[in-house]
Symmetry: C2
């Protein structure tokens, strides 16, 4: 399975927003963007590569040495929420497919109607 | 001090990206957008109000009851990073001003040049 097949890059003119969160503390480190190439590079390298209007393909930390080591990658529901999950980013890439790890907190049919 | 004075809404055509993170677990709940009005409403109500292209002003949870209670609000450096902080979102609104709570991890002059 191609991990990128589950992502829609067309809405954002080829870009998606990418949130970097510290693996241990949960701290949000930064918000940036990725295009298809940067996401493929991220998965290939195991280090985070963004895409920026000014820099183009941007391997974070290539200048400072403060690279971001990829520990885990999850995607959100892209606006098609209302699944009754606790949070939007419930699909995690396990190396071969997107795994649903979301905690179900309510039944969407009961709350939003069937 | 007007909290909105420190935010640049012009780059995103009146919108900024807003990340909701669980106050206790650090889990990222969702990524959505705010305009000026939604951010003012968020601060006024103490519950998170987004802006969405389809819904307009969107008081999260008004239908499901699962509102997001505002515990803390921080803003990032808006691309003007390279401050040597551990993360971008180091300014927290304390009710009257933006407080710098960032941990300094390196000297930007040494790493990026003066």
């Amino acid at each position: 399975m191609d991990p990128l097949a589950s992502l829609d890059f067309t809405k954002g003119n080829g870009l998606v927003a990418a949130i970097a969160q510290d693996h241990e503390t949960g701290e949000i480190l930064m918000l940036a963007h990725m295009n298809e190439e940067s996401l493929r590079e991220t998965l290939r390298r195991g280090q985070v590569v963004y895409w920026s209007r000014s820099r183009g393909l941007w391997h974070k930390g290539e200048q400072s040495g403060n690279v971001q080591i990829l520990k885990s990658l999850s995607i959100d529901c892209d606006g098609a929420c209302h699944t009754g999950k606790r949070h939007c980013f419930f699909r995690r890439w396990d190396g071969s497919s997107w795994v649903d790890e979301g905690e179900q907190v309510f039944d969407p049919k009961e709350v939003y109607g069937g």
